[in-house]
């Protein structure tokens, strides 16, 4: 019985004393404890960093040295502080994380880090939505740290937080505070006229979801240019639809409600009947593979397919990128598809771009030089071809400028087999391309937006009309 009372008393005692051990300042563990040498396991253990206790133990252990002013290293004869300021660290959202949660390779002998802090152990990289893919070559710390000195590693093309300031003097990077990166002014750490890391001289907006036709894109509308394009596009679609419903539907002349009801009824009955298999066949053979144009003329089919199938392939890869990133932002698939400098991605986009330009050039030759009798040379057609042609050429120019500006290593850049030669070519002009890049970007964006806005009006209307006509013709049969 006495033993039980003693046990309860000890429990109460522990409960009373235990909170005392966790004061505001972490408890330092001196090499000598209570006049006795420390136990080996005081240090040589791996705390369970998934618990608060373990995280706290890890912080206390590291801060035993890194909390002291005397903690410093010597670089090029100059002393650099290695002291971590607990006051600023505790204001960040990382305050409950163990040091070795991020600094994964420091708990070893000799005590040094090769990889630096690992953000992607817990966080995923930003996709197109938050920040655009060129930032895949920028280390997390280059933005998410208060030190404003960044440098470009020419070997890997990676932008890093610099260990030296502008005067080449070593600096301390132990400030664990997280700067407010939502402020647009913040981006001027790199995006200035004089930056040396190959950033564009202006902060450019992100792509819009309308760009998904040819690029991987976020699910946002973005810049006002794209808003305007989208509004014009929707207006055009409403006009087109109201034009379609001007005619009579199954002898209904007046009521729009009845016309819509009858049309949707007919579509529903077709979709949920055996006819749907015929419809799928029509979509594959006539809409995707363009069988009817092939029957008419192989040349026409080639020209049209060079443009159309290439855009379709780009759309497919853009959608794949979006879903791959949504499902597994850390997956190598998502990272390779997002990264414009990745061998496959660079090659794919350059190849499809080249095919489109070839198609456009061939069509131009047909129209303006050879002029066969059967080719109707309408102004509208020329406009559509012209917009796509200018869009792609601007795109290639933009890519060349980006490769030149960001100074990515040539072993990486060669996969952009169009962009890289352009970069080499324009390098001879001796211009400051990071100043020109924003103008080129906006030009490309405006022409792209123009194409989207133009879709429901001129010649490009055929992308909606023709598939529908083809499908309806089969229903009539």
């Amino acid at each position: 019985m006495n033993k039980l009372i003693l046990f309860i008393l000890i429990l109460i005692g522990v409960a009373l004393i235990a909170p005392e051990a966790r004061a505001d300042d972490p408890v330092m563990m001196p090499p000598v404890l209570d006049g006795k040498q420390r136990e080996c396991m005081d240090c040589h253990r791996y705390p369970n960093i998934n618990t608060n206790e373990g995280a706290y133990a890890s912080q206390a252990f590291c801060l035993e040295c890194h909390g002291q002013k005397a903690c410093q290293k010597t670089v090029n004869g100059q002393k650099v502080s290695l002291r971590v300021n607990l006051q600023t660290f505790e204001k960040t959202r990382h305050k409950y994380a163990a040091c070795i949660q991020c600094h994964t390779d420091v708990a070893r002998c000799p005590h040094s880090s090769e990889s630096g802090a690992q953000c992607t152990e817990c966080h995923t990289v930003h996709g197109e939505e938050e920040i655009h893919d060129p930032h895949l070559r920028v280390d997390c710390q280059a933005c998410h740290r208060t030190s404003k000195f960044v440098s470009l590693d020419k070997k890997t093309g990676q932008v890093r937080l610099s260990h030296f300031n502008d005067q080449k003097a070593p600096i301390s990077l132990t400030d664990h505070a997280l700067p407010d990166v939502t402020d647009p002014e913040f981006c001027k750490r790199c995006h200035t006229n004089e930056n040396k890391v190959g950033a564009a001289a202006a902060v450019l907006p992100s792509k819009s979801f309308i760009c998904i036709l040819c690029h991987s894109a976020p699910l946002t509308i973005g810049h006002p240019i794209f808003w305007a394009a989208l509004i014009i596009f929707l207006f055009g679609m409403i006009l087109t639809l109201s034009f379609w419903f001007k005619g009579s539907v199954e002898e209904e002349e007046k009521s729009l409600h009845r016309k819509v009801a009858l049309t949707s009824e007919s579509v529903w009955q077709t979709l949920f009947s055996r006819q749907v298999f015929t419809l799928i066949k029509v979509v594959i053979l006539d809409v995707f593979l363009q069988r009817r144009i092939l029957q008419e003329s192989v040349k026409r089919w080639s020209i049209h397919s060079l443009i159309y199938l290439s855009i379709l392939a780009r759309l497919f890869l853009g959608l794949l990128t979006y879903f791959a990133y949504r499902i597994g932002p850390d997956s190598s698939l998502a990272l390779s598809l997002l990264n414009k400098n990745n061998g496959f991605t660079a090659f794919f986009y350059d190849l499809t771009g080249l095919l489109i330009v070839t198609g456009i050039a061939w069509a131009m030759i047909q129209r303006f030089i050879l002029k066969p009798v059967h080719v109707a040379r309408e102004g509208q057609d020329n406009l559509a071809i012209g917009i796509i042609g200018i869009l792609i050429i601007l795109g290639f120019l933009l890519e060349g400028t980006r490769i030149l500006m960001t100074q990515i290593p040539s072993s990486m850049a060669v996969y952009s087999f169009i962009g890289y030669p352009i970069a080499k070519l324009i390098a001879g002009l001796g211009l400051d391309w990071k100043l020109i890049y924003p103008y080129l970007w906006y030009a490309h964006a405006v022409v792209g937006a123009l194409l989207i806005a133009y879709l429901p009006f001129g010649k490009m209307k055929h992308v909606f009309n023709t598939p529908l006509t083809l499908m309806m013709n089969y229903k009539m049969k």
Binding site: H257, A261, F272
Partner: protein, 245 residues
């Protein structure tokens, strides 16, 4: 002149394309919500952890749960817009005898139906929607809104705790779970049986999928509606069930 057999098979449209479409989306969305939601709530169970493993982690499950929530609630919004359009543009009645609005007659129908089950009376003359069909509809229509509200609070707790006290988050959690259990029980047991597994319908009520019903079926299941159709054909000479909600 149609034969008697032909005229009994005369086809009427019971559900519009929009209603069929919304039913399919809600069907998929609701089932998805139930599977992902219960797998999150009962994550310690073997079937839940197995499912989470197949999907690729609880993060994907949460993402899918929100995806299904968005498509399901989009259907509720579309339906509300349709109701406004029906009332204002088509000048339809949202509270009339042929509508889904609950009436005193429904209670009478229920009592009459119970009497009929025990052989003490004839089948009540149901209108376009019977009392259990109204119950099914109102349960999901109101339920989706309350589930949507508690779900939204749980989706953005930081935002809502600025507007309402913190314990509302806990409240939302409790309500979201118990209403989910109730809704699933209602839809997968009561709705499925009363709409699809009744002996005269089994195995599936096709009219919500193809929209069609026959004169024979209307007379058998909704005699009150048939009288209404006859009355309106006599007065307006353009009777079609497609105009009624």
């Amino acid at each position: 002149m149609m034969t008697k057999e032909d005229s009994r098979q005369e086809v009427f449209i019971r559900f519009s394309v929009l209603q069929r479409f919304l039913h399919i989306i809600v069907m998929v969305g609701f089932t998805g919500l139930a599977i992902t939601g219960f797998s999150l709530k009962f994550s310690a169970q073997w079937w839940a952890s197995g499912f989470v493993y197949l999907i690729g982690g609880a993060g994907h499950l949460a993402y899918l749960h929100r995806f299904f929530a968005v498509i399901t609630y989009a259907c509720v919004m579309a339906h509300i817009i349709w109701l406004i359009y029906y009332k204002l543009v088509l000048k339809g009645s949202l509270t009339g005898p042929q509508s889904l609005f609950p009436k005193v007659k429904d209670i009478k129908d229920l009592l009459g139906h119970l009497r009929y089950f025990f052989g003490r009376g004839s089948l009540p003359s149901f209108n376009r929607f019977t009392y259990w069909e109204k119950f099914d509809y109102l349960a999901i229509f109101l339920g989706m809104n309350t589930m949507g509200l508690t779900g939204l609070i749980l989706w953005a707790p930081e935002f809502f705790s600025r507007l309402i006290p913190g314990y509302f988050i806990n409240l939302a959690q409790v309500l979201h779970l118990y209403e989910a259990i109730m809704a699933v029980a209602l839809k997968f047991v009561v709705h499925l049986i009363s709409a699809h597994f009744r002996p005269e319908i089994f195995p599936v009520e096709k009219s919500i999928f193809n929209g069609k019903t026959t004169k024979e079926k209307i007379i058998r299941e909704h005699p009150g509606e048939w009288e209404n159709i006859n009355a309106s054909t006599e007065s307006a000479a353009s009777g079609s069930a497609s105009q009624t909600s």
